[in-house]
Structure formats: C-alpha cells, structure tokens
C-alpha cells in the first residue's frame, strides 16, 4: 500500500459565473519515505493539489488516501511548510515551533515541548535567534523556523508548497541542502514522506526521488519521471556531470514540449 494515494482528483470552481477546472482527473501515488516533487508552470493546479492534501480544500471528485484512510480534513499526520513563511507573528521562533509540537504531539509536557523546539531550532542553525519574533528575522530565517516546526512535529508526511520560492538564490541553495540533510537524517530513524511543490527544475532534481510534472488548463499529470541519481547527493559535484545535464535537458524539453504542444500549430501568431 502506498503512503499517499491520489486517485481521479478533480477540482472545479465557479467565479463570476464562469466555470473553471483547476484539476482534472489527477492520479498518482507516493511511497512511504519517498521524496516526490510536483513541478509545473503557474496555474497548473499544483498548489490546489497540495491544499487538498493539507485538508484545507475539498475536491469536487476523486479522493486521497493516506495509509488507506481517506483524507477528510486537516490532520496531525501531516506537517506543512507554506511559501509565505506562515509563522505566527506574535510568537517567538521558539514558541512558534513549540506551538506546532503541542498540536501534533499533545502528550508531551510543556518542558519537553520546548526541549524539542530548541533541538530543531539548533538543527536549522537558529540557536541564537530562538527568542526573536518573525518580524525580527529575515525571510530565509523565517522559513528555517517553519521547517523546524514541520520537522519537530514529527509527522509521517511533509507537505511543502514552494517553500523556497520567495527566498534569494544564495539562501535557497543553503536551505535546499539543509532540507536534504535533515530529510536523509542519520539513517536510524525512518525517512519522512515528502511531497514538494516547486517550479524550479534544478530544485526538483536535487531533492527528489521522483518528479511529477503537471500541465495547466486544466491541471493534470503530464509525466512522472524517476530521478536516477544516487544519494547522498552533492550539488556542486552533481551539476557538473554530463548525466545531470542530459537529464535536465530531457526534463526541460518535456516541460516546454508540453507548452509547445499547447500553443503549437497554426494558432501561434508571433
């Protein structure tokens, strides 16, 4: 049984009397401990898909099963990292993480909650910033706190919606490697199942085991590709290999090929 099984998912909505289809018959599954990226241009419904998984939106048709159980709403088996930091501005970094831990693991005592929060803030390199409020932290630091919170909640599944989309290139690289390191872990604990939404092809290749490509209007799964590179991956070495370039080019041509299919033919007027 797959960890996450998405079957025949469709989302329709009506806005100003016009009918839209955000997702059309989307099906794929994610295995336990697998890191899967969903990529696609904006408007392909990848964020809609994730919000259904998060439980804050409901599909018009189809279903999502987690461990064989249908998703009916939010649940503390899933940790979420949004693009826009999504920290509570009135809580310090430490309290933000501890609050997440409290929700996901209510049995822990207050002291244990804060111990877990401290541990994960240390891991994301924010030990000196625990007492700061989000407004006192940079975007990259806020996203570290959000990642620490999601990891500290110790959920089986991590859902990440373009978590590094709003972060500058240098910090993005650092955060990607941090996430990879944290996800790969020390080999003793079970790996988390990650569903990672992005529009950055390099990010998807570096991080994932498998890439699900989506195309727009209506949003549907276009292609699923297994990433052939062994782990642990080293970015600087990996990007220099000819295999990487070949794989990347293949993805790009698939990506743009899809767009070419859409706008190709006689209708294109440039």
């Amino acid at each position: 049984m797959s960890k996450i099984e998405i079957s025949h998912l469709s989302v329709d909505y009506t806005e100003r009397n016009k009918h839209f289809t955000a997702l059309n018959d989307v099906s794929f599954s994610v295995e336990n401990g697998e890191f899967v990226s969903v990529i696609g241009s904006s408007g392909c419904g990848k964020s809609t898909l994730l919000s259904i998984l998060e439980g804050i939106r409901h599909p018009s048709e189809g279903s999502i099963l987690i461990d064989g159980e249908p998703v009916r709403g939010t649940g503390n088996d899933r940790g979420v990292v949004f693009q826009n930091y999504s920290l509570f501005p009135w809580m310090t970094a430490r309290k933000n993480v501890a609050f997440g831990v409290k929700q996901a693991r209510p049995k822990l005592s207050k002291a244990e909650r804060f111990r877990v929060a401290d541990e994960f803030l240390d891991r994301v390199g924010l030990d000196a910033f625990k007492g700061k409020y989000p407004s006192q932290l940079s975007g990259g630091m806020q996203q570290r706190v959000a990642i620490a919170r999601a990891l500290a909640m110790d959920t089986d599944i991590l859902l990440m919606d373009e978590p590094f989309g709003a972060i500058d290139a240098k910090n993005r690289t650092i955060l990607q490697e941090l996430l990879l390191k944290l996800w790969e872990g020390d080999g003793k604990t079970a790996k988390k199942t990650v569903l990672f939404v992005t529009h950055d092809i390099d990010e998807a290749i570096l991080l994932s085991d498998r890439i699900v490509m989506m195309s727009a209007s209506p949003g549907r799964v276009y292609k699923e590709i297994i990433v052939p590179f062994s782990r642990p991956r080293n970015r600087s070495e990996l990007v220099q290999t000819p295999e990487y370039s070949a794989f990347r080019n293949r993805l790009l041509s698939l990506f743009y090929g899809d767009i070419g299919d859409k706008i190709g033919g006689d209708e294109v007027v440039l």
Binding site: G55, N76, S86, P89, Q103, A104
Partner: protein
C-alpha cells in the same frame, strides 16, 4: 554623553528662572504662598538631576527635559500672571502656591475622589472589555465576510453615550450604577466593532497555517484569532478609554456625590476656584497616568509588531 550635555540644558536654566521669579514681590491681598512652588520646583529639579545623571539614551533625556521644561514655563507664567502681576482677580485666578497648599490640605479628600472615579471606570470598562472581546471574536469568526452585527455595532458605537445618562437615571437605583452602565456602553460598542473588524482582517495565511496545525476551535479563537486581531482590538479599547473619562467626569458633574468631576463642579459652584483649578489639574494628571500605563500595556502586548 558628556557632563555638559547632561547638565547644561535649557530646562535647568528655566528652573533657575522659576526660582528667581518666586522672589519678586507679591501683589496679592492674601499670602501667595510662593514657598510651596519653590519646594515643588526644587523637588522636581532634584528628580531632573538624578535622571540626567543616570539616563543612557540621549533622545530619552531630551524628551524628559522637554516635558519638565514645559512644566517650568507653565509655572513661571502662572506665577507671574497671578501672584506677581495680578492680571485677573485673585479669587478667580489663584496663584500656584495656593493651589499647591490646597492640594496638601485636601490630599485625603482628593484620594477618596480619585478612588471613587477610578473604581467606576474600572468596573464599567473591564466589564465591557471582558464581554465584548470574546463576543466580537465569536461573531467575527462566525461570519468572516461581515454580518449584521458588524453594522449594528458600528451604528451603535456612533451614538454619543452621554445621551444614555437621563434614561439611565430613571432606570437604575444609584448614580454610581448609572455611571458604570454609561461607561460600559461607551466601551462595549467600539471594542465590539474593532474586535470584529480585527477578526475580519486576519490574514488568510495565518488562519490556514493554524488550520493545517489541526488546532481545535478554542485554540483557534483564543490562541490564534485573538492575538492576530489584538492591534485592531486596541484601537477600540483606546477609544473606549478616552470616551470613558469624558463621560465619567461629565456624569459626575451632573449628579454625583463624589468623584473628581463632582469635586470640580461642587467647588466652582461655591466660588472656590483654587479647588476648581486643583481638581482640573488632578484630573489631568490621573488621565495622563492611566493613558501612560495603558500605552505601556499596549506596547508590551504588541511588542512583536515591527
């Protein structure tokens, strides 16, 4: 900061002028009691010197000295216009020394009046806040798009609460309970309106991130929505506090038997303008002190804001 920056300031010069002015000959019929002003000024100046020696931030010192300087200028002009030049009749416009003397003799009475006024404010205000904030959270959360309650509370908060006084007198047994009711109403509607608009304006991303943490409705309301709307709630609370003071002192002038408004009204009826002025000054100090404490509370609770 250098010693010169700390101690060679205009405020200290004003102190010396204030002291010198006290020694000009009095032209009042009764003693002007300028010695009281002298003692007050010396006490204040000792405070100034201590603060000047200890304070770390130059901006903080500048602000403090400006405020004290303003007090000195005010006392210089008051002393000159009353005791020394007698621009108005002595009974209508008593010299500051006499007001200080009155403050000392009336001190116990004034404290009783302050206590009476404050207890009414606190009862009406706290009761209103304790009811309207949770109610506003609930109503706002039930209909995040805006509902009838939003319009009703906006409409009702626009009615000047002073108009409830005559009806309140007919309705309630004591004047005290009327005052509490009026302050309750004066606080209730603006706080309710601002709480609801605060809830309506909480960013969707904050609500979504709470939802994905799977919080229960109670946690959502009191650990997420409440702190997120707090900046807005404080707008209503500030408005309620300002209006409460205006109302209370007005109400006390209409029909109370104690309180600061009563003190002012009663003595001005008897032509005792020394006490009238004293009452006005005391009301000013009480209002400033409460606003100061309230601002400190607000700063503390909203310290996470940029």
């Amino acid at each position: 900061m250098s010693l010169g920056k700390r101690f060679l300031r205009v405020t200290n010069l004003l102190f010396l002028i204030l002291v010198a002015v006290q020694f000009l000959p009095d032209r009042t019929a009764k003693p002007a009691e300028c010695l009281n002003v002298l003692w007050f000024a010396i006490g204040l100046e000792i405070l100034v010197l201590i603060v000047s020696a200890l304070i770390k931030k130059p901006e903080g010192l500048a602000l403090f000295l400006d405020i004290i300087g303003f007090v000195y200028v005010f006392l210089i002009l008051w002393t000159l216009a009353s005791a020394k030049l007698m621009w108005l009749k002595e009974t209508l416009f008593p010299p500051p020394g006499r007001v200080f003397a009155q403050f000392i003799t009336d001190f116990p009475k004034i404290m009783v009046n302050i206590q009476s006024s404050l207890s009414i404010i606190i009862q009406g205000y706290l009761l209103a806040a304790l009811v309207s904030i949770p109610l506003g959270l609930l109503l706002g959360w039930k209909a995040r798009v805006g509902n009838a309650a939003t319009y009703i509370s906006k409409f009702l908060s626009a009615i000047p609460p002073i108009v409830y006084i005559p009806y309140g007198i007919a309705l309630l047994p004591t004047f005290r309970s009327v005052s509490v009711m009026v302050i309750f109403l004066a606080t209730f509607w603006p706080v309710l309106a601002s709480t609801m608009s605060g809830v309506l304006n909480v960013e969707q991303k904050i609500i979504d991130s709470a939802r994905v943490l799977n919080v229960n409705p109670f946690t959502m309301l009191f650990s997420v929505i409440l702190p997120a709307s707090l900046p807005q709630i404080f707008i209503g609370c500030n408005q309620g506090l300002t209006v409460s003071f205006i109302l209370l002192t007005s109400a006390e002038m209409i029909g109370a038997r104690d309180g600061l408004g009563y003190y002012v009204k009663n003595y001005s009826d008897f032509g005792d303008y020394t006490r009238t002025i004293l009452g006005i000054i005391v009301i000013g100090i009480v209002v400033v002190a409460i606003s100061f404490l309230f601002n400190k509370l607000q700063q503390h609770l909203l310290r996470w804001k940029k």
